[in-house]
Every structure is written in structure tokens, then in C-alpha cells.
């Protein structure tokens, strides 16, 4: 069965510091991968998606970037965090089925102070 992991689970970082969040998927190959941000416990906003190694598409211009160095690894980064980057970051994967079902990871709670 497929499993999706995210770490760290929680993170507190000062403004201006760098960020690296990691997401890995097990039990599948060549998944589509997605990064979402959820603010204030409501509403998920798609940030980035990837259909293959090194292929990243950005949905919203912002202070963040994403990379996919391996087939089942997706990384969300920032060089300098802003207060507005605080939120709940969720990684998701889909297996390319016709329905395109997406399955979410446990999330990372980021607080920028």
C-alpha cells in the first residue's frame, strides 16, 4: 500500500531564515506530487505540482520554491521566510488513475516568528 510522509511535523522559524520541508511517497512510482498551503485551518491553496523528476509548475507567485530531486521526493523551500509564510503545509500525491484521486500527507505546521 502507498504511504506519504512529511517532516518535520512542526517548525518554528524566525523571519528571514531559510526553509526546507520534505515529502516522500512509498509504494508507488512516478506519482504526481503537489504542495498545498492551508491558512487558519480553512481552505487549501495549491502552491506547486510536479509530474516528474525536475518538473515543477508553480501556481501562485510567492516566496517559496519547490524541487523534485527523486521520483518520490518533493521538497518545499524558501531562502528567507516571511511572517505571511506561516501555515499548514500539505503534500499530496496522485497515481495517475483516470479519477486522479489525491491523497494527502500528515502536514507540517510552520510558524514564522
Amino acid at each position: 500500500s502507498q504511504t506519504i510522509h512529511q517532516w518535520p511535523a512542526t517548525l518554528v522559524q524566525p523571519v528571514g531564515s531559510p526553509l526546507s520541508l520534505e515529502c516522500t511517497v512509498e509504494g508507488t512510482s512516478n506519482p504526481n506530487l503537489y504542495w498545498y498551503r492551508q491558512a487558519a485551518g480553512r481552505g487549501l491553496q495549491l502552491l506547486f505540482y510536479s509530474v516528474g523528476i525536475g518538473q515543477i509548475s508553480s501556481e501562485v507567485p510567492q516566496n517559496l520554491s519547490a524541487s523534485r530531486p527523486q521520483d518520490r521526493q518533493f521538497i518545499l523551500s524558501s531562502k528567507k521566510l516571511l511572517l505571511s509564510d506561516s501555515g499548514f503545509y500539505l503534500c499530496a500525491w496522485s497515481g495517475g488513475t483516470p479519477m486522479g484521486e489525491q491523497y494527502f500527507g500528515p502536514g507540517t505546521r510552520l510558524t514564522v516568528t
Binding site: 503537489y34 485551518g41 481552505g43 496522485s94 479519477m99 486522479g100 489525491q102 502536514g107
Partner: protein
Amino acid sequence: QQQVKQSPQSLIVQKGGISIINCAYENTAFDYFPWYQQFPGKGPALLIAIRPDVSEKKEGRFTISFNKSAKQFSLHIMDSQPGDSATYFCAASLGLNAGGTSYGKLTFGQGTILTVHP
């Protein structure tokens, strides 16, 4: 045209009652409509989903009703239980067959906080 509007924002139901959450969309090209359930501090979990070629799908106590002409779909939770208390999100996407460009990107509603009182 990519919006999905969800209502109500919050809902209180007594145990055993029926919970109904509604969503409306604008993009007639959407062809996949999932519902997610999210508990505090957890990632959303896929609950049930429907394609527009059917008007209703039922899985246990959860039913999706779909009205293509009205561009609306709803989630019905029968015999609601306190354990159903969570935030529910509807979503829509172009699926993975829309000319190879949609990549299954989901557009989410703003969520409904459901509270089921014992």
C-alpha cells in the same frame, strides 16, 4: 471560473440527524468532484468522490448528490455521529484526461466545520 463555493461555513447537527453540505462550481469542464474530511491537526482524507456521469454515489452513511445542469453537488451524512465532527471540503478538478494539461489539480471549497452533538 475556477472557483468552488461551499456552504454553510459551519453546521451543528444532533446525533442521528442528517448533515448536508453544498457546493457550487462554475467551470463546466470539471469532471471529478471529491469530498475530503479533515480532523484538527491532520491532513485531509479522501472520503468519497463522483464523476458527472452519475447523479448519486453512496458509500456507507455518506452520499454525494450531483446536479450537472445546476452545477451543484452536495454531501449528505446520514445518522450523523459525534465522531463525524470535522471540517469537510469539497473540491473539483479537470481530472487527468483534460488534454494532459490539468494534472489533476484540485480547486477546493472553503470548508464546512461540522459539529455533531451527542
